[in-house]
Symmetry: C2
């Protein structure tokens, strides 16, 4: 059995207000191509297919088309679960019909205990769940944490293990390695809703979703695939991609995805970033978090940057906030609001108000006074 | 070919705030039973499966279960279209998988021209559409009304008619008979988005959804099934049910549904309606529009009625509004607010304020004065 492991598609997610439909489509097509090139026997999607419990019509249409393309057009078996971002009742609409073409979409805890057998492998598809659901399912008031639930869940799954088969768990939760947790993971996960990797030792592989970086966890056979796209600036340094997993003999290969528009941090002086010699060598339509090294006030800075870099998603100063107080002329308490405004305008733009601008300012000040 | 014709399920609809989940489930189970008893070859649902474009999770779960029950459990072919209350993109999720079990759910205009052939019949499933969709589909700027669109749509459908088969149209629009329109229909429909019945003459039967009464239109072979439930007081006099249609020879049989809780108008004097001899013979948990024949003020009238009839959905006076002015003592302009309140309370309840009630009234008046 060779399968592709991906997760956290978050269809419908926006990046600082920017629509990612084109990026999502591009990433999906790369994933499908990898699946076809690698001749996988199945595609595993470990939860958070949508970004929201009530996705909009466009998102519904996009995900539906992707799943049809994978499973109906390309006849790839698909093994998927709902994540914490999905509405399980909405996601599962129609799912009983899907199994006829080997598309298994599990959204209820109870479904996790009926493994899907494909080739040499039993897949256990465990959707995202809350402790109360496990408490009810097992009728056990002692289950108050995901960790406590998982002990029972794994034990129940093991009772259906076919010893002649490999056993793969597909799940959507925080997993923590007891020894090899790096600082990022340490920060992100903790407490009793974290599953120790040692609790998952009976599986040949655990295909996880939830964390967006493939390196969130360092365990050989318990892996996050990460999301196909960078969904925040904090993910700028992550290499996105999917895992190709062979069960016998066990091998794991990471296949990187190339973003249509990358999410990057761009650091430098305003004059350097806006110099043609520099920006002509940049992918200017990447999603950029720009960190200026300047200390001075720069008039209309965002507008000026967006003329070159249309998709600026964050703008900050690399060395802390602009030292306005030191640069500007101290406020003279004897000036009236109109004079103060004139002074401020000249300080920040380098030129005095024109006659028309003066009129606008007067009108605005008069209106503001009236509102008082 | 024998099929069952229903429409306008409006799953998720509330009746004056009352949840209809139980009523919907009961009506569905009657419909399924009729389908099984009548050994129909298919169930036609002519649009408005949901009440809202974004149904809540409970509604999604309920409709999904009904369709699974019909098509997967009972293996009945299902022919359905989206109505104006449905979100076509949401409703069609997964629909390409459904056809494997003869569940055809058409939500795009383009799908209307590929008939579904079952037995001796070609079914044309035409979802609800807006004129702009037809304009775009036919690339014809002249199409600005549903009526103009239908002329082209019917012509296109006819080009695929198999003369050896019967032809049934399933659609969701206003249809108007040119001669036999009764007053109700006359009121409800009109204008250029109404389809003359004569435009539909090429079909052996037209199974319509949109209007909630089976008698909205009087044409032998163009029929509304009406909704399975009464969704407003204006539908109180309608007999709800489904049609059983035989194509060869053509016969039409109406099968009534019995509501779990009926929607009724109850008219009478307050003292009569609240007399045990009367209400013990009533289905007191029906949804009732109560019309009181009394002219007097009745204290706490809704609360008193709901103690007997928990599901009062409307309350009015059969003979116009209560004549408060004539019954109450004329207002003495010399009374202060507190005295006026005392007088009003005694008039309407028949007893004076207690000491505690006086205190509450004083506190409320003081608070109200402060807010001024």
């Amino acid at each position: 059995m060779r399968f592709l492991h991906t997760a956290d598609w978050h269809i419908g997610k926006k990046l600082h207000g920017f629509d990612l439909t084109a990026e999502q489509q591009d990433a999906y097509e790369q994933i499908r191509q990898i699946a076809l090139d690698e001749r996988v026997d199945a595609v595993v999607i470990a939860g958070d297919l949508y970004d929201r419990s009530v996705p909009n019509e466009k998102s519904v249409t996009q995900l539906d088309a992707m799943l049809q393309d994978l499973n109906l057009t390309h006849q790839l078996p698909v093994l998927a679960i709902s994540g914490n971002h999905d509405s399980a009742p909405r996601l599962r609409t129609g799912s009983p019909w899907f199994t006829a073409t080997n598309f298994y979409l599990h959204t209820k805890l109870s479904q996790a205990f009926t493994p899907v057998t494909l080739g040499d492998t039993q897949f256990f598809l465990l959707p995202y769940f809350e402790p109360f659901e496990a408490r009810r399912y097992f009728d056990d008031p002692e289950i108050t944490t995901v960790q406590a639930a998982m002990v029972k869940i794994v034990a129940t799954m093991k009772s259906t293990f076919d010893p002649a088969k490999k056993h793969v768990l597909v799940a959507h939760f925080f997993a923590a390695g007891s020894s090899h947790v790096d600082s990022e993971t340490q920060v992100m996960v903790g407490g009793l809703n974290v599953i120790p990797v040692s609790d998952l030792a009976d599986f040949d592989y655990v295909a996880l979703g939830h964390l967006h970086g493939k390196d969130a966890l360092h365990a050989e056979r318990v892996r996050y695939s990460g999301s196909p796209l960078k969904f925040s600036v904090s993910e700028a340094d992550q290499q996105k991609g999917v895992w190709i997993v062979d069960t016998d003999p066990f091998t794991l290969t990471f296949k990187p995805l190339t973003p249509l528009r990358d999410v990057r941090i761009l650091k430098g002086a305003f004059d350097d970033l806006t110099a043609p010699d520099f920006y002509r060598q940049q992918q200017v339509d990447d999603y950029l978090a720009i960190q200026l090294t300047d200390q001075r006030v720069i008039p209309n800075v965002m507008q000026a940057l967006r003329e070159i870099y249309p998709n600026v998603i964050e703008l900050g100063r690399a060395d802390g906030p602009v030292k306005l107080a030191e640069e500007l002329t101290p406020v003279d308490p004897h000036l009236n609001p109109s004079e103060l405004f004139d002074q401020f305008f000249e300080e920040t733009t380098g030129s005095a108000l024109t006659e028309q601008q003066c009129k606008w300012a007067q009108t605005a000040l008069t209106a503001a006074n009236k509102e008082d």
